[in-house]
């Protein structure tokens, strides 16, 4: 009797739950993370994005109590090599303020270095080999990827997460398929994102050697960029220049000099190296 009652109750509950579940799925609120965290997920995503940069610096990273450089993160600028400006930015610890400060620097990463760098600067321990031997192994940039993936899961509407992950996947790990797949995920979450389209074009051009596909992607990215508001265009000047120069280079290689000159002429308006760009235009003419 009890079993029969339970079966009837379960059946009734299922007839109520099933339509509710379908409605819930259709309304697009099926994302558990969005429901659980709300807008705070963007804060967490930003934290994990920074965490990836901290991993890029082997744990040597400013806390909220240290002076942190403004602007793009170093892992996003795509240059693993040391630059004087970056060295200065990352010298946030300065000289030890007292003996506890000096002593404590032995217990956490206190020397600036990057993932995958073979040679490190003077170690805090006084010797020049402060990384273990497997530190020099290639492909250590992979260690950033879990945090980038997590950041993208929490905040899919942030194109730079996809672009940065794709950059390291292709440049250091040679994982083109995974990078393209991740970028497509990003494009689904950010339809028409010119940053993601530019990166997809870069993979097509540099790694797939597919010039026509790269051209289509970059032209689409340029069109979408031009549709963006003026403030966004001003803040993404570097990307604009990269798009124009990449297209110009591609057209020049494809012997479409007229198109290449057109892109170079547009690039001249925005580039800080106007003389060099003019020199290219003169050469193509």
């Amino acid at each position: 009797m009890r079993a029969a009652l339970l079966v009837v109750a379960a059946f009734c509950l299922s007839t109520w739950l099933e339509p509710w579940f379908q409605h819930w799925r259709r309304s697009g609120s099926g994302d558990v993370i969005t429901i659980a965290l709300g807008d705070s997920r963007k804060l967490f995503a930003s934290h994990f994005y920074d965490k990836a940069d901290a991993y890029f610096h082997n744990g040597y990273y400013p806390s909220i109590y240290d002076t942190k450089a403004e602007g793009e993160l170093h892992m996003a600028s795509g240059m693993a090599g040391p630059s004087e400006e970056h060295e200065k930015e990352m010298d946030f610890l300065g000289k030890p303020k007292d003996w506890i400060d000096a002593f404590s620097r032995h217990f956490y990463p206190s020397v600036h270095s990057h993932l995958g760098e073979e040679e490190c600067k003077e170690s805090k321990h006084g010797d020049k080999q402060h990384h273990e031997e497997h530190q020099t192994a290639a492909g250590l940039e992979r260690e950033m990827l879990p945090w980038l993936k997590l950041a993208a899961t929490l905040d899919p509407e942030r194109p730079e997460t996809y672009v940065v992950a794709s950059f390291w996947l292709t440049q250091k790990l040679k994982k083109m398929d995974e990078a393209e797949h991740f970028l497509r995920e990003g494009l689904r979450a950010n339809p028409g994102s010119y940053e993601i389209l530019y990166e997809m074009g870069r993979i097509a051009y540099e790694h797939r050697k597919d010039a026509s596909r790269a051209r289509n992607l970059w032209v689409l990215a340029l069109d979408n960029f031009r549709k963006a508001d003026e403030a966004t265009q001003d803040s993404k000047l570097l990307l604009h220049c990269q798009l124009l120069s990449s297209l110009a280079k591609l057209e020049q290689e494809q012997k479409n000099n007229a198109e290449a000159i057109r892109y170079f002429t547009e690039l001249k308006k925005y580039s800080p190296f106007k003389d060099q760009v003019q020199a290219w235009i003169d050469y193509l003419k």
């Binding site: 240290d66 404590s104 217990f107 956490y108 402060h130 992979r142 260690e143 990827l145 879990p146 992950a165």
Partner: protein, 265 residues
Amino acid sequence: MNAAASFYSPVQAIAGVVIRELYRRKDFYVLFVLTALITLVLGSVNFFNEDKIVRYLKEICLFLIWVSSLVIAITTAARQIPAERENRTLFPLLAKPVTRHHVVLGKFFGCWYASGLCLVVFYFFFAVISGAREHAWPIVNYFQCFTLHWFMLGVVTALALLGSIVFAAPSSNNTITFVTVTTILLLARHLNKMALSLNEPLQTLVYTFYFGIPHLELFDVRDLIVHDWAAIPWLVWLGALGYATVYAGIFLAATCYAFRQKSVN
């Protein structure tokens, strides 16, 4: 020699009881299973078909080990003397030849050894998991990490024991010790920077506080392990162990003094 042995014998006996209590209780087993489970589940996640990614796993596993070890050390130490008092076993325990100092030291060493035993199991698991993933066995680094962690737990255990004399109930002692230890771990490293940005006399006050508190964050070398940095110079490591011993000694002396002043019932 005989005097030392006769002093240490009751301490050892009390410590033995505390260790036996630990493996009869479920705390450690639950925390270890949880740590292992979370680590293994996270280890099975596939990121871009890259099976050599290990640092995130090391970081999460070490974080869980730290949380678990603090829970075990603080809760074990905080309940020792109040439980003896509540069960009225303190009177027979304090019968000659066991003094109050013996009880405090016995409880301390028992809790500290018990924490050490737990840490051995946790770090063994950590070494196996990270070794299996990255095929590297930096035993020296792990040894330093383990010893620093264990000595830090010594300071925390002594602090919790002092709290168990000062505060009325183990629950309030647990909470206050947890908050104090977490605050030190998170903020102590930055107190000097905060002090420098303040005006006098607040600057001197904060700086004095900075020099006075036990810098438990010194013993947190997780970042060095996660990011494969080289081992700490042995003299520096020894200095840190000495620093922990001094603070544990201060807290134990304070506990002995407070316990002597307090009526047993």
